[in-house]
């Protein structure tokens, strides 16, 4: 398998690299089109979604990534990455763009400001055993899901925080900062299946 790509324009892309290292999966930072052509799937990290989208637009990565995902290229986004994979963004800035691929509506900063950031333990479909350790940092929420989208996890009050639409996986939270490796493992098997 080719290495997994991690979009490295801004955000906590190194933490995703460390998480993949921990499960013995090779990764490569993606900043250019040629980087994108040499990876088997793409992780879109936490960060500031408005900044990542602008940089992707300025360096001609936005359309190619959008097109690849539409054609079955596996993608996995955490927090800002979820926003960037959503087909619809609520409370974005004017003209905010996304790669799309998840038939969902995602609201930015859905919990409020940093004082409303929190840690939680979650049940997650397909991950038995210990609950998933999650950090929600100025996190988004999935407010609406299309009929082909599977909900993988929700908060106790029912708000949706993890979704999968075939080859595209999106989380409101950051497994990459809590030492949680099982969701990355799940993405690796998605990539293997699609190759």
């Amino acid at each position: 398998m080719l290495p997994l790509g991690i979009l490295a324009l801004q955000g906590d892309f190194r933490e995703h690299g460390y998480t993949l290292d921990a499960i013995g999966v090779e990764s490569r930072q993606v900043r250019t089109l040629s980087d994108l052509e040499s990876v088997a799937g793409l992780i879109i990290p936490g960060g500031e979604s408005t900044v990542i989208a602008k940089l992707a637009r300025a360096y001609d990565l936005l359309e190619p990534i959008r097109e690849k995902i539409a054609n079955g290229f596996p993608a996995f986004g955490t927090c800002a990455g979820l926003i960037l994979l959503a087909d619809e963004i609520l409370d974005g800035i004017e003209g905010q763009e996304s790669f799309g691929g998840l038939d969902v509506s995602v609201r930015r900063n859905a919990f409020g400001n940093q004082l409303d950031s929190f840690e939680a333990e979650l049940d997650f479909v397909g991950i038995p055993g210990e609950p998933v350790k999650a950090a929600f940092i100025r996190a988004p929420i999935v407010e609406w899901v299309g009929s082909d989208v599977e909900v993988l996890s929700a908060l106790p009050d029912g708000r949706i925080v993890a979704v999968q639409n075939d080859h595209v996986l999106g989380l409101s939270f950051h497994p990459e900062v809590t030492g949680e490796t099982r969701i990355h493992q799940h993405f690796v098997s998605m990539v293997k299946r699609s190759n």
């Binding site: 801004q10 940089l55 974005g92």
Partner: protein, 301 residues
Amino acid sequence: MTESNISRPNSATPLVKRGLAEMMKGGVIMDVVTPEQAKIAEDAGAVAVMALERVPADIRAQGGVSRMSDPDMIDGIISAVSIPVMAKARIGHFVEAQILQSLGVDYIDESEVLSPADYVNHIDKWKFKVPFVCGATNLGEALRRITEGAAMIRSKGEAGTGDVSEAMKHIRTINGELRALAAKTEDELYVAAKELQAPYELVREVASTGKLPVVMFVAGGVATPADAALMMQMGADGVFVGSGIFKSGNPAERAKAIVKATTFYNDPDVLAQVSRGLGEAMVGINVTDLPAPHRLAERGW
């Protein structure tokens, strides 16, 4: 805001406080003094804005006591943008910090750029739900701030000068001291803790990992895309740009260029391209021309 947010038990943990800084890595935090400037910064690709009443260059020029900003002004900036908003409190002024937390800022900068309120103690930052960033000129200072609860460190540089030499000195000092600490044997760490004037447990942790347990941005004197890339190549996690943007000829274009330079800091072709056509950079002052009492980096203990 729903009920469940208020009763959530695991908010304001060190992971959550440090985590927001993790998400800002590879980004640029820009000083702004009006909602209009905040909007320009957001549109240019800032990861966060620092709301303050006067940029450091003006504080320097106008003199007088410099304090926390007017709450109305901070509210205006919070409602103008969707990215995180930081604001500055004076060193040791825990009531300014209480007010900023009540306003709902995302980060407080306990900053030497403002006039210190306490020449002995810094704020006990563990008492707050909101995370803090603090300045440091060397490793000992950074570790003391982390001990007091800082969730992010900013090397100080010399704010309001447009002269990057102090920023360079501070990041070289901190990185050099980190390397020296990592090379020490177990039995040398007791004296290292004494010399760094920092707690032994934290010193031991940093010696074994070789890095700070929090994100470190660089600040103080960054005025051009090349300055930002220089700091990133030196190992900064990101940059603060204070007076450098809104004291320049074309703030919107300069801000965009500095954002791009911070991402593509290792690509001289991109750096050459973004350095073109930016108009006048801020005029600046050479740090060596500043009389010692006017050097802000020396505030903090």
